[in-house]
Symmetry: C2
Subunit: 698 residues, 2 copies
Amino acid sequence: MYFKAWLDYDGELNESMKKYFSTVLSNYGSNVLSKVERQMYLHAVEEVKTAAKAFIGNKPDEYDFMISDGNLTVIKEQYDEKEDGEWEKGILLYYVPENQMDEEALITEGAYAIKRYYDEEKRLDLWTVRANSGAGILYGTFALIRQAVCEGKIADTGIVAPFHALRMLNHWDNMDGTIERGYSGNSFFFSKNQILITERTTFYARLIASVGINGVVINNVNVKDMATRLISPVYYAKLRELSKIFAGYGIKIFLSLNFAAPMELGGLSECDPLSEDVIRWWKEKMQEVYQEIPDFGGFLVKADSEGRPGPFTYGRTHAEGANMLAKEIAPYGGLIIWRCFVYNCRQDWRDKKTDRARAGYDNFMPLDGKFLDNVILQIKNGPMDFQVREPVSPLFGGLMKTNQMLEVQIAQEYTGQQRHVCYLVPMWKEVLDFHTYCKENEDTVADIISGRTFPIRNCGIAGVSNTGDDSNWTGHDLAAANLYGFGRLSFDNHLTAEEIAKEWISMTFPKKPIILSNLMYILMNSWRAYESYTSPLGIGWMVNPSYHYGPNVDGYEYDRWGTYHRADCKGIGVERSSKGTGYTLQYQKKNALMYEDVSTCPDELLLFFHRVLYTDRLKSGKTLIQHIYDSHFEGVEEVKEFIRLFCQLEEYLEEAVFQRILNRLTEQLSSAEEWRDVVNTYFHRISGIEDEKARIIY
Amino acid sequence: MYFKAWLDYDGELNESMKKYFSTVLSNYGSNVLSKVERQMYLHAVEEVKTAAKAFIGNKPDEYDFMISDGNLTVIKEQYDEKEDGEWEKGILLYYVPENQMDEEALITEGAYAIKRYYDEEKRLDLWTVRANSGAGILYGTFALIRQAVCEGKIADTGIVAPFHALRMLNHWDNMDGTIERGYSGNSFFFSKNQILITERTTFYARLIASVGINGVVINNVNVKDMATRLISPVYYAKLRELSKIFAGYGIKIFLSLNFAAPMELGGLSECDPLSEDVIRWWKEKMQEVYQEIPDFGGFLVKADSEGRPGPFTYGRTHAEGANMLAKEIAPYGGLIIWRCFVYNCRQDWRDKKTDRARAGYDNFMPLDGKFLDNVILQIKNGPMDFQVREPVSPLFGGLMKTNQMLEVQIAQEYTGQQRHVCYLVPMWKEVLDFHTYCKENEDTVADIISGRTFPIRNCGIAGVSNTGDDSNWTGHDLAAANLYGFGRLSFDNHLTAEEIAKEWISMTFPKKPIILSNLMYILMNSWRAYESYTSPLGIGWMVNPSYHYGPNVDGYEYDRWGTYHRADCKGIGVERSSKGTGYTLQYQKKNALMYEDVSTCPDELLLFFHRVLYTDRLKSGKTLIQHIYDSHFEGVEEVKEFIRLFCQLEEYLEEAVFQRILNRLTEQLSSAEEWRDVVNTYFHRISGIEDEKARIIY
């Protein structure tokens, strides 16, 4: 059993809108569409019907139409029999043939335009979705329904083209059905080393297509055991079936790849990317894969990272490793997405010179320009990992001749594990809007990964998925806002976090002003709240090792992961300025200067960049220690406010929904109190400095 | 494959001793022995033959003998044919019939006497083992061989009776083959929910009988899943077979019991010890168990402890719970051993009033005198858990009308997990020799658990076993000294830790003075060394949660286990005096006063009992903080010394043995350095006080 999430068109639509859903006009029959394009078109028609069923309780009338020299002809037998003065309202899906393209921009894969067609004479009042691709028709249709639901009206959109070419979800699903960093049940892709294909699979494709996703990596980046065999005859039939389902929604299937596959799968004695045997093995493997799965997108590779094999073993560079694969997959149009999460995960905590934050840049900057065109470097949004607050990776704005992709984590590994509400779109917006100063203008991360800054074609954004086989998909009902938001943002970067939240709430919950306003408050303040009761000012971590939940200030302090806070009785923080590890120097000059100087470094990243004394004053005028105390007390109060506001919604929400969310919020409160008390107690004990407000610290 | 441990009589014996092993004289044929007694006698004879084979390379001659009116007649055909002047030397095992008992004390089960029989006229020179039980014959035989090997001579012992009635090993083996807190491989009792019976089983019975063990609990005290079914027809046949094997070595088999068995196994709706249904169920179960396993010893019960079910659920006392079982097992002579490890394992770290150290006493003292005679309370050697240094539980010297058993942990859960050498006999000696002041004299723990202090009959000592299916039994070769030592000490409390170490070394390794002296140094200094580089002065813990290895000063500090150090920038320790939790008041007055006062509280337990400032001076004259720094540096130096001394033995030891032990010592050194650096860094950071000697602290 699963819920329909934001696609549960729950029937609340005003009367004037409903009329449009009484008729759907399609022309897929009259066009020469490829099988897969036709499938997308059909799914769009199906979507209108599904929405109509929900909104008006009936199937809509279905007619073909023809457009010739700009003249629309509706093809239906009883058309002339309409009574005088009666208007025909409907939704028209127009797959624009190339020879009739009136708008150049529609050429972009997935672009669409919603436009009113109003003909006084023929008494036709239609909302048209125009596109030159099946994906465009599909996206336009979802957009049209979204407008109707969220705004209560439909409006001309002009041409809407997807902002990022690649809009991907990375699933960290294991073949045994578990999910690494999964907080929503088990995998719906795998169970007991088998690939699952159920009704849920199709719904998922539809769900993520509705927000614009066009690529999905289905297996964990840590590829082991049977997952290595995904590229073997054992799984091809199922993968082909799966990729067909997703292709029908404009989504390509990707796989994570084991760099050591030539050894583990091929029986070779090495996986040196320059070995002729290895190259030959991959050549044959790529041919085989594409023979078996024609729609296949390509591979995601985690190499030389956290124990995964890679080119370093053979003294080869990451460029040599990635290019070897890229060259062999190129004939089939495939991509090699190469993760930059490479660092020394066996650091000695006593070693204060090595700085994990530097590692991505140090490893990949020297290779800028050395990658083939179908290689994409996938860069995590923070240089450390997915902490609640990190600066943007200096690889963005550093790399100028390399395809790049931003990787964010929708799964809330370090942000409350879907037991705490933490709406992440505001964080992603900050990352995307960050000026790297690598150019005069068009220098933000969003500019870079959309190909505006540098002439890179294969680029985009990837999110580590937060879904599983829980009936509500995301464990916490409110965590679905992150999945929704990730998709929407990847498609349309201009959307604000507020707009996205508002959309998602309107799509998901009954339309009551109090629901909208209270949930908006909760979502929009949730990231900041979580940040304030966990680790302060960009220092990160301070969680229990391995499962990354719950306060543990010293949890990583004496460990091998390169994640230290160095707190002592005087102060805390890692000096990453030029006086310290020199990490600041990896940024373009303007940012380097900003971070270098304590007086210009933003407070919220202060402890990421600098070692600060407890008695030093922040820009707020507070001492550091007082800020720590205050923010931890305030964060908990904010969670109480969330609960107060949420409880006001009891009468408007289904009981089960209300109870489910309330349970999570209640758990969040007790967990936040624990976080507050542990962190405050730790700093009170180590600093010996009293809280100015004399609140209880244990 | 397994090694013979200290029973590998490796042939080094002087010539005069060898002669005695040329003949063995036995009279089991002429005595009316029960089947099981006869089996023990046979095993003793077998032991002499095995030793002879090793020492002289041949089977000894075997003769019967008769003793009538004190006159010995050797029954052998060629006896008279011996040449004039030739002496007959041999070993004679004499199961003394009751009507010929010349020494009262031999009546004690397992007692024996070794005595020379020297007859000028008959030219007989024999060493005799005299006993009135099969176990006595067996123990005496092992003792005689041990004398020969260790001393190079045999001497009259007088009557040696076992010190403690119950000398038990507790195995925490799970039915799936894993061992809770096992550091020597998997279980040799269970695999995949089956009971294993192999050649190894028999050897193990012989091995532990050789040091006097007479009871073995084979399954983990946490009884779950299939282990609950050990008392069901599925396993009876195998258990019967197993108990027969052990009985042949004087060892009774016990099982850990699931208090909720009436529900989980019997399908009842409750396990209330006062419910008639529950009582009836147990009555029938006990009858069934003894019908199926006649040699069965009884049950060990962990109830209302760390999530295990128990009488508290039904508002019953532990006495009511234990007595119910005891009453039903009494007709068969069975014992109920009831663990006192009962405490709140869901404590809020913010709660400073609850003191886990108090829990055992608080829970069980009110029940003193309320337990049936076949119930034994099994009390851990520290009130917290098996830390490297704890005071003796105040239940010893508190309880005066209750059968008691001391529980120590041979498995090195908190003492280096058999990766560090840590000879524990000195610790156990301290516990056993501790004066409780519950009586004028005979007031030590050893006195209490041997029944000298109070008229208790069922009492003794239990050790959590450190064995597994590793070929050397204990993972670390040197950890076998703990198993050996536990057995020897439980049999003969008068032995010193040095004597035991010396015995074990002599039995196990080639007889070279340098081996003896260097290993003696390592063993005798190992506990102190481990203590000095881990947690200081009785504060305990400071390890990684759940697996209990490696430094983690705050590992348990904000957790639910009641194990806190409360370190802040000024000092550390839990105030357990009358000014604090009042734990000191649980001791008899003299000890209470000693612990209450910082000036009389022994330094090594200072932080267990008191909160102390870093700048306070210890009895040594050092400040607390300097002591922490010094001891951590010194501990590591001591490990280096162990390695230096051990390396001197290279030429005398088998290469594999040398390498195996050296590997462990090397690992210990790097682990000790880690411990030193983490603990010193933690305290340096939190106190801000410099090391007087300005050594490297990170």
